[in-house]
């Protein structure tokens, strides 16, 4: 437990020292979302209808930008090798890095999303569900992205490959995340899509750290 906390603190400290990495993810999120009014026209009703989908798609794409630094820097400077041969279970190490990634990327995305919601004229009834769904959704994206990042570690063109890998796997998050916000706006109960998101989160929480640890071990061979 102590090592997990130590690892999380270490990763957060590194992220804070390289604040521009996190900021560029958020900047991408805002810029990409603000492209849509130019593309589809500034009609407020149309934007309000599309807002949940735009928010989810751009948040996902912004998160994709952050995965390459999840294991890559540790892989390059040799820290990862020490973490792999350390006496702690490797899935715990992977989980610690995933939690740190969520705290440094998921939370900022979560904070920025209501702002973009206002820009896109999202209905006021949708915000509460948006935050809850986004919290679960970004956590799932961090978990699946960590698996993808661990698998592509040391490959050629890892950035493109990572998106090719992760995007098909996170489609359910997109469906149920946007579905929850849509339901809240439409005046229905958002409980069902939120429960599905929660289930996905639990399944990923069990499988992804374990899968990442296998992939990390493969990268050390």
């Amino acid at each position: 437990m102590k090592t997990v906390v130590a690892l999380i603190i270490r990763d957060i400290r590194i992220a804070l020292r390289q604040l521009s990495d996190t900021m560029s993810v958020i900047a991408f999120f805002i810029i990409a979302a603000s492209l849509f009014p130019f593309g589809v026209g500034p009609d407020p009703n149309l934007l309000a209808r599309m807002a949940p989908g735009i928010l989810w798609v751009t948040a996902l794409l912004a998160a994709m930008l952050s995965f390459d630094r999840l294991f890559q820097t540790d892989y390059e400077d040799g820290t990862l090798e020490l973490l792999v041969i350390a006496p702690h279970p490797l899935w715990l190490t992977a989980l610690a890095k995933i939690i740190a990634h969520w705290l440094t990327t998921g939370i900022p995305l979560l904070v920025a999303s209501p702002v973009i919601g206002i820009m896109l004229n999202l209905e006021p009834t949708g915000y509460g569900v948006l935050i809850v769904a986004m919290a679960l959704g970004t956590a799932i994206i961090s978990l699946i992205g960590a698996l993808g990042a661990a698998l592509t570690l040391g490959s050629r063109r890892s950035g493109v490959l990572l998106s090719l890998l992760v995007i098909p796997l996170v489609v359910p998050v997109l469906i149920f995340g946007a579905g929850a916000v849509d339901a809240a706006i439409g005046g229905f109960s958002a409980a069902q899509p939120l429960l599905v998101l929660g289930g996905l989160f639990l399944a990923c929480l069990v499988l992804c750290p374990w899968g990442s640890s296998i992939a990390l071990r493969l990268s050390m061979e």
Binding site: L151, G154, S155, R156, L161, L164, L165, P168, V171, S219
Partner: protein
């Protein structure tokens, strides 16, 4: 049984013995299947002649899923028992499966236009098959992304296992969601709701596609094993040559 075929030579001996028979059966099945599909089966009372698309569409859809299941099982065998030929089989099956998925999507689209009035709808069955196609692409890309081939086949094997969650989603998508795509009519419990005159060509084609899949996988596995042997021989020769050269320090080093 499994470990006997970890030896490529033994695997190749079996593959070479089976291949001519399997090829013959495939030609026979698909030829009679085509005859039944085009000549000896009636047009549908609602869909008319377009129902004949089914004899390609449905078997290729089954094969798209079967090939992925095959890859997932082969990957698991390769990871768990460190079985070298299993990894090669999984890699050999991936482009074949991707082709079946693409055939399924294209023929479905061609069938959808006259029947539903649209080439494409974002319903659960179509979308999940599209994701399956993306997974095939990701699997192939990941397998080829590393300089060290064994790293690529292990990483892609993990991906294949993770991605296998898509299979039940595809299978049950027509039951879980209310879709435009019709629900299963052949694999229904009890009597299939499809007439024997149409079931015959469908089953012939499905069996023919299955044997075709194995023929292609065997051929591709064989050529991949041959390519690896060529590579190994070539690098052994280079090592032998540079090994001699490295004894003289003036020409060594740069040669490799």
């Amino acid at each position: 049984m499994l470990h006997r075929f970890a030896n490529p030579t033994r695997f190749l001996r079996l593959a070479n013995a089976v291949l001519p028979w399997l090829t013959g059966i495939t030609v026979l099945l698909i030829a009679t299947g085509i005859y039944f599909a085009f000549a000896a089966s009636p047009p549908d009372y609602q869909q008319g002649q377009t129902v004949r698309i089914m004899y390609v569409h449905v078997p290729s859809a089954w094969m798209a899923m079967f090939a992925y299941a095959f890859i997932a099982v082969a990957s698991a065998v390769g990871l768990i028992w460190k079985h070298p030929v299993a990894h090669v089989c999984a890699l050999a099956a991936a482009p074949v499966g991707a082709c079946f998925t693409l055939i399924c999507l294209t023929t479905g689209s061609l069938w959808g236009k006259p029947m539903w009035g649209t080439w494409w709808v974002w319903d659960a069955r179509l979308t999940s098959v599209l994701i399956l196609f993306f997974l095939y692409l990701a699997f192939i890309a990941l397998a080829n992304a590393f300089d060290d081939a064994s790293r690529g086949e292990k990483a892609s094997a993990v991906l294949a296992l993770v991605g296998s969650v898509i299979l039940p989603v595809i299978k049950f998508s027509v039951d879980w969601w209310n879709t435009l795509h019709q629900p299963a009519s052949v694999t229904k419990v009890g009597m299939p709701s499809i007439d024997a005159s149409m079931l015959t060509p469908l089953m012939l084609m499905a069996l023919g596609f299955t044997t075709l899949f194995f023929v292609l996988v065997i051929i591709r596995t064989r050529s991949e094993l041959a390519a690896r042997r060529v590579n190994a021989l070539r690098s052994a020769r280079i090592h032998a040559e540079t090994g001699e050269l490295e004894t003289s320090p003036a020409t060594g080093g740069k040669q490799s």
